[in-house]
Symmetry: C2
Subunit: 119 residues, 2 copies
């Protein structure tokens, strides 16, 4: 049974986890949240992700209705990504998750040093 099969199986929470629960998607959401970004800007802000994987993730998020992809057929090409209403609605929930983790975190461990993105 593939991950997505089971995730759809334990729905709708499972579908939510499938939409959000990958290595990069939460980060991508946080990076796009403030304004529309071009593909290259995204890649620059999350500079440890490869272009292929970034493209893959963005395509899935588009399918899941989290992001909008606008392609301008110019030379040179320009593509802009932004959050949908659904994607924006996710932000407060992600913020709660952060607070939850922070609240119950072991106080001895420092942890925010190398953070990529913060809500």
């Amino acid at each position: 049974m593939k991950k997505n099969e089971l995730m759809a199986y334990s729905c709708p929470l499972g579908k939510a986890m499938a939409a959000l629960g990958s290595k990069w998607k939460p980060i991508i959401v946080l990076v796009i949240k403030d304004r529309k970004l071009r593909f290259g800007e995204l890649a620059a802000r999350i500079n440890v992700i490869s272009r292929k994987v970034l493209t893959d993730q963005l395509r899935e998020m588009e399918t899941d209705g989290l992001v909008i992809r606008e392609e301008f057929k110019e030379i040179p090409p320009r593509v802009e990504y932004s959050l949908t209403e659904k994607g924006l609605a996710l932000l407060p929930i992600m913020f709660q998750l952060e607070e939850w983790e922070a609240k119950y975190q072991d106080k001895d461990k420092k942890f925010d040093k190398d953070c990529i993105a913060t809500a």
Copy 2:
């Protein structure tokens, strides 16, 4: 870079996703939420999971402070799992995730048919 390395990296949201973002953990949380359960009861309720994987997940969740494992050294052995305060605090957030997904879901697709667990 392994998944968990990055997850710790994009903290604390990443840590939250690591604690919750696996194939089975959200389901396990929902299954334990009402009362203390023995290992065998857990396995029975999530009958598509193998014992090895269930054990693995429970151990990780114990490390992350989500569940409590109580071992009674009897014959035959008995082990009971329950949610910690941290685990319980996760429930309202998971419920919001469900509502979020349900709200923005494509209305044409039916989906709740084979649900394992519901918050």
